[in-house]
Amino acid sequence: MRISATIYLIDHYANNLSSPMHKASTLSKLISAIAALGITIFTNSALALMAEFLIILTFIGAAKLPISRLLSWALYPAFFASLFALSQIPYSLVLPIITIFRAINTALIMLFLISTTPYPELFSILSTPSKTLGNVAFLTYRFFFLFIEQTGERFTVMKARGGLAGSWKIKITNLAHFIGMLFVTSFETSENMYAAMKTRGYSGSISYHKKLRQKFGKQDLIPILFTLCILALMIISTFFKARGLFV
């Protein structure tokens, strides 16, 4: 899994796409996601989870997000879930489906949230209990994009010049020196950034709370609807499951 490419694309979707879900307040999206995650984790109906999967995909499509790409990312946890599922097959054929869909659905809910909400807005939640945590999260995000550009270019040059060819000893040595260089330049970049921030009055706190404080309005109907759909589905499934009509 290319973590860098994933974060890059998620950042692009959250910042550059526009849909009613993107316009909703961070708080409503976060509450909606937490509720949806809770419902998903505690659901024990395979059919309900499969139906939930379709609901999530519908909302992802409605938010103009690329369904196939988000699905491909959600398949990563699904791979690990499938290993658990395999061990459940001797005991039940329904349990493995529940395990896999639960993993895919929770991953999709998280991806839906972060692909419609820029990371800094989510991190601003962390600064409510602790400004230090919020600041580190926010700066990590900023540094990541700075460092990944430097790394990408240098890694390509190293590969092109045969830096990763040859024996394992050479490979590991060159790779370690590469990471060492990344390490040193990254810390230098962060020091320069700190100096620049200091001149702008930085004293350990960064302000980025704009959308968190946004009032609830009609733009929040979409996240509310999202949670209500999932909740309604789970209530129906529980009702039918109690009568033996649902698996």
């Binding site: 973590i3 995650l37 984790i41 001797p90 990371y119 390490f183 040193v184 700190y194």
Partner: protein, 220 residues
């Protein structure tokens, strides 16, 4: 090393306990680091480097974590904050479930702690200057990763779930599905040892490089 269990698999009490422990220690950490704003910038840089380093292809099913290096450079409390942020970001796109962030932070912070304290002790123990840093770094990393494997196996053991498919090595473990915790541990350890050797070698070489180019980054 971090646990790649998807959401909804581990028992509720275990992941809530993981979060509770991490929240308590984070509360202590933010108090301990108060006023050290420059080191906060380093903690963020370290978290970003960990994320970037994870993306570097090694040609084997293993990614570098740099948790021990984070412990050595940042010290215990900033390392905890850095580890938490890294795990939280990873969980947002399914690299470990969102419910597992607490447990994963415990595992990675454990590596940072073991690395930090061992490096401190070994630096003094290996007095010959030329190989002091790489040797201390390598041994600390190897020990920290081996011990964290034990911690992960312990977590899987207390969770009561089938342990066959837990630790992150991207291997195809389907045939291992029914094995006991003891067999699982016996199979996991060799794989973890290979990862620990690679990471120890890389950490050691990074320390040599950093010591030559920017020695002020390494304490001691």
């Amino acid at each position: 090393m971090h646990i790649h269990i998807p959401d909804g698999v581990l028992p509720l009490w275990l992941w809530i306990l993981g979060y509770a422990i991490v929240i308590i220690f984070l509360f202590v950490a933010v108090r301990k680091v108060r006023g050290e704003e420059k080191r906060g910038i380093y903690a963020a840089a370290m978290a970003a480097i960990m994320l970037v380093a994870m993306s570097i292809p090694l040609g084997v099913p293993y990614h570098i974590n740099l948790t021990v290096l984070a412990g050595i450079i940042l010290g215990p409390w900033w390392a905890l904050i850095s580890a938490f942020v890294t795990n939280l970001i990873l969980a947002t796109f399914g690299h470990g479930g969102i419910t597992i962030v607490g447990l994963n932070t415990i595992v990675t912070w454990f590596e940072c702690l073991v690395g930090f304290y061992m490096f401190k002790v070994l630096q003094k123990a290996f007095m010959r200057k030329s190989w002091r840093f790489p040797m201390a770094g390598g041994v600390s990393t190897f020990t920290a990763l081996v011990l964290s494997t034990v911690l992960v196996i312990g977590m899987v053991g207390v969770s009561g779930i089938n342990p066959a498919e837990t630790i992150h090595h991207h291997d195809n473990g389907s045939e291992e599905a029914q094995m006991s915790l003891a067999v699982f541990a016996a199979l996991t350890f060799p794989i973890s040892l290979v990862g620990a050797v690679i990471e120890a070698a890389v950490t050691s070489l990074i320390l040599i490089y950093v010591k030559k180019v920017k020695p002020t980054l390494i304490p001691g």
